[in-house]
Symmetry: C2
Subunit: 588 residues, 2 copies
């Protein structure tokens, strides 16, 4: 990247360096930053289009405000790459060897310029109200600036935050980065209002933000650095809440992303090298299976609705699928609470509703699962995707859904181990009217090769897959295959013919089967792909507490891990097949 050309970036290590630059240099810097982002993200994967859209605005913000004295909070931090480059971390983008040195999110452990570790949406305004309140109590004078996207603005926490920020009576600056997109299309009245605001240069008749009490400013071109600096300079040190609504272009500077935003929100490594190619279709996975099932239900005349909160890509609910679904598809925006409550309402009215949600985001709607759904026994179906131990960022861990969901009364939480079971469970759930049902959809497809004719209305009946003795292995969902392998090792290495059980139900115990194990087993082993604390295995331990049965629970520990390779986590949690076998041997 260096060579003979002189980069403006070479003169910039920290925000203060920006203030020595001319406007022309700031534009040049923005272009350099944009190129770095394109190259780096294409190499490592990551949030692409959101970051391209906010380069100039970030440059202008750091030019005007004085970070880290002034405090920035980046909502969801999908758009913090320029901020990272300008706050001492540019090597993470200039030097391929440092590409993985910094996280893709704001991270206080990296620098004082980051206040919070953030990866879930809609939190920035609320966090900023706290920073502002703390400042006022302690007699500080700094600016508190919350950035938030138009998509994130539809989340309940953001709206609660707006309601409170508006009456703070002191400095708080909210920057709405409006690129007219959520991850997919935007949804709802607020989004339509933002369109009106853009179309009227901020002069619409009923202004949502003014109604709430904000001093509202509109920036029609969020890539015009002079305008940005002008507006930011005016509101700097404001003594009251200000809301800046700036229009930016998601994917700015990379044509294919500007023209087709959704697939470029987040990209896999090397995506840009294969733009002409058709993505590999035709490979069956749980996404394709689910989509086929839903489309078939429409043909059957079933009043089915597929619902989700702004993350259709997680389940492969692409444009083609959404178009086919038509009025049978609902995206509520970034609003998981709304999604669950709406699902409950649809089910109450006789609709057949299937909601998709990523494990990490189901956390955003606990009370609705409990009160709107479970307490009312609404027969909706929720599919939890990506549940399990992974090398993900600390903000996107998917190990907590079992403790979260399975301890709520009335919910039937199911863990299929193969395609046949999944389809059988899904179809049972859609056709029944008695229970809220959640299904933990595995990441990787597998097949049992035989039809599953189980009547799932008989709750909490575990499946005895192979009856053995001494050791009983209960392999839940995605860890059933691991149970099988452990059984094989016990057989081949120690001649133990272990029992293998597929529990299928996460939310209840098959007491008959568990009791029957007492006669010829001394150890029960549980395997679950998620947090042990509050999870499935502990319930088995409790069950056997008054007996002499030994119980070993395997799963992940209660901790936030941050991009730790999965193999390392398996070692840490004693989850390799060999380690499990060794632990079993110790208690035999």
């Amino acid at each position: 990247m260096s060579g003979t050309l002189i980069r403006v970036l070479d003169k910039v290590n920290l925000p203060e360096d920006l203030r020595k630059l001319s406007i022309e240099e700031l534009y040049k810097l923005s272009n350099e930053v944009r190129e770095l982002i394109i190259k780096k993200v294409n190499s490592t994967g990551g949030h692409f289009a959101p970051n391209l859209g906010i380069v100039e605005a970030t440059v202008a913000l750091h030019y005007v405000f004085n970070s880290p004295v002034d405090k920035f909070v980046f909502d969801v931090s999908h758009q913090c790459y320029t901020h990272k480059i300008l706050t001492g971390r540019k090597e993470g983008f200039t030097n391929p060897e440092c590409y993985l040195k910094y996280t893709g999110y704001t991270a206080p452990e990296e620098t004082d310029h980051d206040l919070f570790k953030i990866g879930h949406t809609s939190t920035s305004i609320s966090l900023a109200t706290g920073l502002a309140k703390g400042r006022d109590l302690l007699g500080g004078k700094e600016n508190v600036i919350a950035l938030i996207g138009d998509g994130s603005l539809t989340g309940g926490e953001a709206l609660e935050g707006l309601n409170n920020a508006a009456v703070l009576n002191s400095n708080i600056i909210i920057i709405v980065n409006d690129n007219d997109m959520s991850i997919a299309e935007n949804q709802g009245g607020i989004c339509e209002h933002l369109t009106e605001l853009r179309n009227t240069n901020g002069e619409v008749k009923n202004n949502f933000f003014k109604a709430l009490g904000f001093d509202y400013r509109y920036i029609p071109d969020g890539h015009n650095i002079e305008n940005l600096i002008e507006v930011f300079s005016k509101i700097k040190d404001s003594d009251h809440p200000v809301l800046v609504h700036m229009h930016t272009i998601k994917g700015k500077g990379f044509k294919p992303a500007e023209e087709n935003k959704e697939p470029f929100h987040w990209i896999l490594p090397n995506t840009l090298d294969h733009l002409g190619e058709i993505s590999s279709q035709g490979v069956e996975d749980y996404n394709t299976i689910t989509k086929e099932y839903l489309l078939k239900k429409i043909e059957d005349g079933t009043p089915i609705v597929a619902i989700n909160a702004a993350t259709p890509g997680v389940f492969g609910w692409n444009k083609e699928f959404r178009t086919k679904m038509g009025r049978h598809y609902v995206d509520v925006g970034i609003a998981e609470q709304q999604a669950v409550a709406m699902a409950s309402g649809i089910a109450k009215r006789g609709g057949k509703v299937v909601m998709g949600v990523m494990s990490s985001f189901v956390q955003r709607t606990y009370d609705q699962l409990s009160q709107d759904l479970a307490l009312n026994n609404s027969p909706a179906t929720i599919l939890v995707f990506w549940g399990g131990i992974s090398g993900a960022d600390a903000t996107h861990l998917c190990t907590f859904d079992i403790p979260l969901i399975s301890n709520i009364p009335n919910i039937v939480y199911l863990a299929p181990t193969c395609k046949e079971e999944y389809l059988s469970m899904l179809d049972w759930s859609v056709n029944q009217n008695d229970h809220p049902v959640v299904i933990r959809v595995p990441m990787e497809i597998s097949y049992s090769g035989e039809a599953d004719n189980t009547d799932y209305s008989i709750l909490n009946k575990f499946k005895m897959v192979e009856q053995g003795e001494k050791v009983a292995i209960i392999g839940l969902g995605t860890f059933f295959q691991k149970g099988k392998k452990v059984k094989d090792i016990l057989k081949s290495e120690f001649g133990i013919n272990a029992t293998l059980i597929n529990p299928r139900f996460i939310t209840g115990l098959d007491k008959n089967m568990l009791n029957s194990l007492k006669s010829n087993h001394s150890v029960v082993v549980t395997l679950e792909d998620g947090e042990l604390d509050g999870g499935f295995g502990e319930k088995i331990s409790r069950f056997y507490g008054d007996s002499s049965m030994k119980v070993l629970n395997f799963g992940s520990y209660k901790e936030f891990t941050d991009r730790i390779p999965i193999n390392e986590l398996y070692e840490r949690y004693h989850l390799t097949n060999q380690m499990i076998v060794e632990d079993i041997k110790k208690v035999l």
Copy 2:
């Protein structure tokens, strides 16, 4: 109530009967209903002022709309008593013997006129969007009407619901019952905007609801039945989303409540018979202790903030206290997500923040506890009140907070057993900077009589209260006293000198102490005042899974109970002291 006077109510059993009445009779009916509510609620306790405020509006709604074909959703259902009286359940108010026959909330098991069991706020709009979507899919034609109070409107779920309702493109009617009060005063930009709307007869310049896309109607006097009927008749069968903003008076028709709304939001039995009397002050409880502590911290110059989400009454944070706290007090409105995130922000900025929340409502903010608070290790203090098994309504159970909170990494959840411990924990928490801390405040005060000088920064150290043998009893928080009694019975009846442990920490195990028990104990008993599934005891069971130690976990089952007397629940859960002893005997 009957006697010689002829009541209009005698002619009314179901909504259809209203349509035979004259306007004059509707007013007379409203007065009769109001009198019944005053008498009944004074006898049983319950939500008082909210119900008095919506009598005429409910009469008018049932006059115009055709329930149960048309579908009403009452937010939080604190205001459904008139609805109950008009939908076949008037005996619950006319006949003292039936006073407890019906719940204080909407309840589908009682009638088809109730769609959902509701007791948490801010859910009605979202649930209604589901009913409307289901109707549209199934080809129905009915009206879907969501009622919501101005206070409830500040909750994230309600705002997510508004955003989605606005773009439904079909019939949905939202009635904002604006009585200018939440439980305490209203908070935030929306509330100030509603005031503007009332002051301008709905003609303010920037209309929040119109900005979202609603067809907005204003009713200045929500007790004027003619006006109500006129507006409701016009919008009936609307083919698009309509929002009716009606101004009502909380406590209407009962002067003391009209003049001093907060203490009459919910009343204890016989409150109205003792209006002149000063409430019993001077009795120490955890509310007074907490308030004293917080006020003293202000005097110390600590930058302390007490924060809560619209329920200051739960912790006795009355007007006097709030005034004394001044800028050290924040009520974020009904917005628990905002409260937790704001607390995290305050703590990050160096403020010392103590948030109060009722156990049942902490459910409304799981993701913020996890992402905004725990992941960021923000040293805020959260006090969970009312946690424990109770005879409460199904919507207000307080048994789920331990599974909910204790399985989130990084949080230190503490369970004091007496005043001394509570104050010591609270003070430690406020002074430290390393952990998010939650304290489960007991309902009933007790004293150990000795100062607690524990250093709580040494995490997960259980307290060995009495070293014995054979049986070890671990009594958590409010159930420590129960553990003591069980120990006494074991001694007196069976001569067993049991060990007694006060764990104090809910979120981690004292492995050294638990291991040391193995040498001379064969049974460990855990007692917790909350749900067993995902709770504290199961972690002890897991710990001993590879040993020969027997473990018995006592607590409540995973279920929604509905106004079951606590003694009955204790029997059901084997939680009487005698039953616990018997269960222990069985495994000895």
